[in-house]
């Protein structure tokens, strides 16, 4: 197999970063990204892109930590380079505050982010309704810039981008040797994964350039994430809701909750409302599979189900998926040489 043909379905942060990792681990592969949505209309474009991990109940913690660490290290290097502005990657410091002391005072990722420590009494005075807090410095991936930067890197590596809705993975079987499924919420239909469910998130993106810190309530529902040009205010976690229409009552509620954390947001301008469906699962599905149909086989690598934590672990899961693609190709090359004997 001189030039294995790999199709990556999905062009959100998972699809694009997985495609990029494949070009890096398998330079002889010809990679095509197929998607019905590209930036700025992917779920990733709605997300703030903060590197604060979500904990997946059924993925071993050491694996989640490895994914986060790889992602953090990768992005930290970009943030410290001349490409930082174009890639939309920047450091941001801030506070995670709790109304009551959490069971776990030291999250698994506390030694991956920078400068993690409990907040002092003086710092907590800024949050009169909260009794405990953590201060740290982490990274933010602004979208669309990050996705556009990934697309640029992919095109430079010879990856083709195709606007196409894939209704069935078997459609791709004659044109591609390996199919990588990075369809996020789309996997519900595409591969019939009923363990995948949407968690609806509504956010506001506002102009408030004096806000230089992130603030996150430990309950995960209220957060303020300053990006390059806009501050993302959130949010909601509506399990099972498929609605992509902004709800005005929710907008008011998010704004009020964020203003109670950061009163100066009352002066925020140009409020834009966005909705995304977090492709949620008890564990992220990073897995190889060989599909069979009428004697024909199709090698598939899945990389979806990142829920609320896509940005935090994207590079780590992309690397793992790329290695699974390499395994698929080895297996195909092995069996094709056996077929020749």
């Amino acid at each position: 197999m001189a030039s294995p043909r790999v199709a990556v379905v999905g062009a959100g942060v998972i699809g694009l970063s997985t495609a990029l990792c494949i070009t890096e681990t398998c330079p002889s592969c010809s990679v095509t990204v197929l998607s019905d949505q590209f930036s700025p209309s992917t779920t990733s474009d709605v997300a703030a892109g903060m590197l604060i991990p979500h904990t997946y109940p059924d993925t071993p913690i050491h694996r989640q930590k490895q994914w986060f660490k790889e992602t953090f290290t990768y992005l930290l290097a970009i943030s410290n380079s001349a490409e930082a502005a174009e890639a939309g990657i920047h450091l941001v410091s801030g506070w995670q505050v709790f109304k009551s002391t959490p069971k776990e005072e030291l999250p698994f990722w506390s030694d991956v982010v920078l400068g993690f420590r409990p907040m002092s009494e003086a710092e907590l005075q800024k949050f009169p309704q909260h009794r405990f807090g953590q201060a740290f410095t982490t990274l933010k991936c602004d979208c669309p810039p990050y996705l556009l930067w990934l697309e640029k890197r992919l095109k430079a590596a010879g990856t083709r981008m195709c606007s196409r809705k894939v209704a069935n993975l078997w459609e791709l079987h004659s044109e591609y040797d390996v199919v990588v499924n990075c369809t996020g919420m789309g996997a519900h239909e595409l591969v019939g994964d009923k363990q995948l469910f949407p968690v609806r998130g509504q956010v506001l993106k506002v102009h408030a350039p004096w806000v230089k810190h992130f603030i996150r309530d430990g309950d995960g529902l209220t957060y303020i994430y300053p990006g390059i040009h806009r501050v993302t205010l959130g949010g909601t976690r509506e399990k099972g809701s498929w609605s992509l229409s902004p709800d005005p009552g929710t907008t008011r509620d998010i704004f009020d909750r964020c203003c109670s954390l950061e009163p100066s947001l009352q002066g925020a301008q140009d409020i834009e409302v966005k909705v995304g469906l977090r492709p949620s699962r008890q564990c992220v599905r990073v897995q190889r599979e060989v599909l069979s149909q009428g004697g024909v086989k199709l090698s598939v690598v899945h990389n979806y189900g990142h829920g609320a934590g896509g940005f935090s672990v994207h590079r780590g899961t992309a690397n793992e998926a790329a290695h699974l693609v390499a395994e698929c190709i080895s297996a195909l090359q092995g069996s094709s040489s056996r077929a020749k004997l």
């Binding site: 410290n80 001349a82 907040m119 004096w210 100066s264």
Partner: protein, 348 residues
């Protein structure tokens, strides 16, 4: 009782506000007048980035450390009020970087969350082996000075666009007390060889991805002669020039190159930042702030001057503490003139 304030930078305007707040109800005849040849946005205070941070060492000047603390606490109390945005006031965190370990600064317990940098953090800044992280405040002159001006105007304070040539000039017009907040030009009103310019130059850029201040220190070359990056609400300030004795307010190409090259080395992402302006200003530097009364004999009159100048590169940092001290001096003048029956307490 006519009180003239010379100077409309952060020192003049805040001193005027502090005095009016404390004494206007006790002294109905109080009339405040601000005289200046430059008003916002053309004052030295407007050119400063606006970061609250004292120098590394207070040289044993505990009074200045106290004034710094009073200023920080005063501003912190305003942080959650609706006025904060209009004042140009917001929290900001960042890094102070050194090439060797240094003692903790006098202000470590004034700022929030002061700590040493971790090894991983120091890896972000090659060439620096030690440093601090803390949360401080920004008070942007471009917003704060207009806010002070509005408060003063609401209170009936009058403004005069005029260069005052001497204290006598004002006293002969019937002014009773003069507040000398003339910053760099105080020497024109009364010679003061201790007051010297600390020339600075800054480049203003658009770099909205920078969320932290980064201040490097070179203990040999002295304060502000090492690159610094301070992100504001509309643009980011790049600096690192402190030239003692240089009176030039012209931008220097050599200084531009030095600032640009050193800041881009510090933060490579700046290479893509768009330059939107450049400015040079003179920090009114003095071994210590001159904050004291002076009685001047003019014929058979005793004229009172309160000096409040020489705040170097920490005017914004120290301004409110000095304004309060100036107000206390004013109070003692009033007492002596028997204008007040009892000493005024601080206004709540």
């Amino acid at each position: 009782m006519r009180v003239a304030i010379i100077g409309a930078g952060v020192i003049g305007l805040s001193s005027a506000l502090c005095i009016h707040e404390q004494f206007h109800s006790l002294l109905p005849s109080l009339e405040l007048e601000v005289y200046a040849d430059h008003f916002t946005p053309h004052t030295t205070s407007d050119g400063a980035a606006g970061l609250w941070q004292p120098y590394l060492s207070d040289h044993g000047n505990l009074q200045e450390t106290l004034w710094n603390k009073e200023t920080f606490d005063h501003l912190l109390r305003h942080l959650h009020t609706p006025a904060a945005k209009e004042m140009g006031l917001f929290l900001i965190s960042g890094y102070n970087l050194f090439t060797e370990p240094v003692p903790d600064p006098s202000w470590k317990n004034i700022v929030l969350g002061f700590r040493n940098l971790t090894p991983k953090e120091l890896e972000l800044f090659p060439g620096y082996s030690y440093g601090w992280f803390n949360t401080a405040l920004m008070l942007e002159g471009r917003s704060y000075l207009p806010w002070l001006t509005n408060r003063l105007t609401q209170r009936g304070v009058k403004f005069f666009h005029k260069k005052v040539e001497s204290f006598q000039e004002l006293f002969s017009q019937g002014v009773d007390v003069v507040l000398n907040c003339s910053g760099m030009r105080a020497g024109d009103l009364q010679p003061d060889p201790e007051l010297q310019p600390g020339r600075g130059q800054v480049i203003k850029v658009l770099a909205p991805w920078v969320k932290h201040f980064i201040i490097t220190h070179n203990l040999k070359s002295g304060i502000y002669n090492s690159p610094y990056i301070i992100p504001g609400s509309e643009f980011t300030v790049l600096g690192g020039i402190y030239q003692h004795g240089n009176w030039s307010e012209e931008n220097s190409a050599k200084d531009h190159k030095s600032i640009w090259d050193s800041c881009c080395r510090l933060l490579p992402a700046l290479q893509k930042a768009k330059i939107i302006g450049e400015w040079s200003g003179l920090r009114p530097a003095r071994p210590s702030v001159r904050l004291e009364r002076e009685s001047i004999r003019l014929g058979n009159l005793q004229a009172e001057v309160i000096h409040n100048y020489g705040h170097g590169g920490f005017g914004i940092t120290i301004h409110w503490g000095c304004a309060m001290a100036a107000a206390r001096l004013f109070g003692s003048i009033l007492q002596e003139k028997r204008q007040l029956s009892s000493p005024p307490g601080p206004r709540l």
